[in-house]
């Protein structure tokens, strides 16, 4: 745990909030796994266990007007950004009360109110989108930062290189956040990238970059403050590589043949909640009843979300073609 001295503001209240945000994501993902085994959630489900520190460290530093683009592993980002847990879970049930009307599911959470431009199921697909959002703000001279989250797997896509180049070439206010969890589904980083020090790739496009210990929420937050400040001031893109690890399988139906259990066990002791809680206890900033209170509040919120999703309704078949176009009528199943 690197204690960054220039961090005056780690008050007890702020520390507990960081811890609560991370536990909130962990327990929500846990409930999603349970609901998946009971066939309440279908399709693909990609959980964020072990990477919570990144979303919790970066997203709160953004302003309300800023924009967020994420991937299919976006439950944590959505929750921290402010998408209601009720709407997110209802979306995974496929209910029309979901944040995307039940039409997107776990991989496609969208929320206009919080400028959350979705999960995207195409690896690397979100990067050009983020470039465009930032291009609009750049052309209008608006003081808005677009944060674009992606995994190290996206680095192998052409769109990654095209997007970094455009961002640098056109001076676009984009914060690239690479969540390097060492595995692109079943392909370890070492067997997919010639240069595995991901943040060095940004240098080819003259983009400022740094790598951060993705398991240290305090370090992430500090880096995020620096990065976002730099982007806002310079209007230039910034590249943050957060080195983390994925504790659960890539998705629910994955025998994890590509890594061994000992490696996963080793990371369980270094994951962000265990580390931050341990550090808080060592520095007497947390009392046992704090934890109990936090967990009780989170469990209540999860219970409310489950009830909301359970009682949600199916979108009528007559609405099938609606919103294919802006003005397509409701009843037009041709």
């Amino acid at each position: 745990m690197t204690i960054v001295t220039d961090k005056p503001r780690l008050s007890r209240r702020h520390a507990l909030d960081l811890l609560k945000q991370m536990i909130r994501i962990r327990r929500f993902e846990d409930k999603c796994a349970e609901l998946y085994t009971q066939e309440k959630i279908r399709g693909f489900l990609h959980l964020y266990d072990g990477e919570e520190a990144i979303a919790v460290g970066v997203i709160p530093v953004l302003e309300q007007r800023d924009r967020v683009v994420a991937t299919y592993r976006e439950h944590g980002h959505a929750l921290v950004r402010g998408v209601p847990m009720t709407a997110a879970l209802a979306e995974m049930y496929g209910k029309q009360e979901g944040c995307s009307r039940g039409r997107g599911g776990s991989m496609h959470l969208f929320d206009r109110a919080t400028n959350f431009y979705g999960g995207n199921a195409i690896v690397g697909g979100g990067l050009p989108l983020a470039i465009g959002l930032a291009l609009a703000d750049h052309m209008r001279g608006d003081d808005i930062v677009t944060a674009c989250f992606f995994g190290e797997g996206a680095v192998a896509e052409g769109e990654f290189h095209e997007s970094l180049n455009l961002a640098a070439l056109w001076t676009l206010p984009v914060l690239f956040v690479c969540e390097n969890n060492l595995y692109a589904m079943g392909t370890a980083l070492a067997i997919s990238e010639s240069e595995t020090d991901i943040q060095r790739k940004a240098a080819c496009y003259r983009i400022a970059s740094e790598a951060v210990d993705g398991m240290d929420v305090v370090a992430i937050e500090a880096a995020a403050r620096r990065a976002i400040h730099a982007v806002r001031e310079s209007g230039k893109p910034y590249f943050l590589e957060c080195r983390t690890y994925r504790l659960r399988a890539h998705s629910m139906f994955d025998a994890q043949l590509y890594r061994d259990k000992a490696e996963v066990e080793a990371w369980r002791h270094k994951e962000p909640i265990v580390r931050f809680k341990g550090w808080l206890e060592a520095s007497h900033m947390i009392h046992p009843d704090d934890l109990a209170r936090i967990e009780a509040e989170i469990d209540a919120e999860i219970a409310e979300a489950v009830t909301f999703a359970e009682s949600g309704t199916w979108e009528p078949i007559e609405q099938l073609t609606r919103f294919t176009y802006a003005d397509s009528p409701a009843r037009d199943v041709s």
Partner: protein, 332 residues
């Protein structure tokens, strides 16, 4: 009776340039983005001179990153801009197909109507310049297959001038296909000609004996064929689809019900083509009025060859259209 507007002569290329200039003047959120649109003046010289008038921010040259800058166009549109992305030709649009299909066409429906993409993408299409297989595709039919976007094929100077502004007002993505053989075509146009509709087909010639249904670059060959047929006493209706998605079924069926015979001219390859879709719609909606099987004139199912005589043999031509019409009329 006010005096008729002064007529000017301009080429299809000039008309499209005027459309872009007009759009950028009227809407500050509008801007053009694509490979070589700025300093080079546009691969087909459509945007020549615009850089000087509007500057590099709004006439934006891009790296050769079709997926990147098309995605950027989508993002900018979602954030309130009105981008015109030029993909140079349909051949290079294949690299941007994922952004067009999986984001542009899909996001409104998938996001439960929270985000729309008011974007226009222009690209050249078609063969005829001996550019060989990789640079001579006609893939309008692929894009016309996708719900969530609209697809246009301006065949006349008037449409080249008028479709862009209407497309830019559309809250959903609109693709405009410009056949490479049309850029040099010139015609008279009212000096104050402006926006036109983008969802109706046009009857370019009226006749009772047979309906010749086509779009884009093939329109002029079809009209020439109709003239040749007239000389042999065969009077043809010529339908210019103008919009390939949605297709204006009403105008097509009205014509077919009148003539009872149809030939469709489509530069795409026959299998699974736009002409196949139109054939099926005629059978579904006007079967009882047909007096003969529907004819089709499409490109031969081969990669378009380089040598001129083979390229001519590969794509629809006037004699083929005339022959197809006579076969349908039982007078081959």
């Amino acid at each position: 009776m006010t005096a008729p507007a002064a007529m000017i002569e301009l080429t299809y290329r000039d008309a499209m340039r005027e459309a872009i200039r007009d759009a950028l003047r009227r809407d500050k959120n509008a801007f053009l983005m694509g490979e070589d649109v700025g300093r080079y003046g546009g691969c087909y010289a459509v945007s020549k001179g615009l850089l000087a008038e509007f500057g590099p921010e709004r006439i934006r040259d891009t790296p050769l990153s079709e997926s990147g800058f098309t995605g950027a166009g989508i993002g900018a549109a979602m954030a309130g801009m009105r981008p015109i992305v030029e993909l140079m030709t349909v051949n290079f649009s294949l690299l941007a197909l994922d952004q067009i299909l999986n984001t542009a066409a899909t996001v409104r429906h998938m996001s439960g109507n929270q985000f729309g993409v008011p974007l226009v993408i222009r690209m050249a299409t078609g063969a005829g310049r001996q550019l060989a297989a990789q640079h001579s595709h006609s893939l309008e039919g692929w894009y016309a297959h996708i719900p969530g976007i609209k697809v246009l094929a301006p065949a006349t100077v008037e449409d080249a001038r008028g479709m862009l502004w209407t497309a830019l007002q559309d809250p959903d993505p609109v693709l405009i296909f410009e056949n490479v053989m049309l850029y040099n075509m010139s015609a008279n146009l009212a000096a104050d000609a402006g926006a036109v509709d983008i969802d109706k087909a046009a009857v370019r010639r009226t006749g009772r004996d047979i309906s010749l249904i086509t779009y884009g670059g093939s329109l002029w060959k079809t009209l020439e064929a109709a003239t040749a047929l007239a000389a042999e006493g065969i009077d043809a209706d010529v339908i210019d689809l103008r919009s390939l998605r949605p297709i204006d079924d009403a105008t097509v069926m009205t014509s077919v019900r009148k003539t009872r015979r149809a030939v469709i001219v489509d530069e795409g390859w026959r299998s699974g083509s736009l002409s196949a879709e139109i054939c099926t719609r005629i059978i579904e909606q006007a079967f009882w009025e047909l007096d003969a099987p529907i004819g089709r004139v499409c490109s031969e199912e081969v990669p378009i060859p380089y040598p001129r005589h083979l390229e001519i043999a590969a794509i629809p031509q006037v004699p083929k259209i005339v022959a197809a019409a006579k076969t349908v009329l039982g007078r081959a």
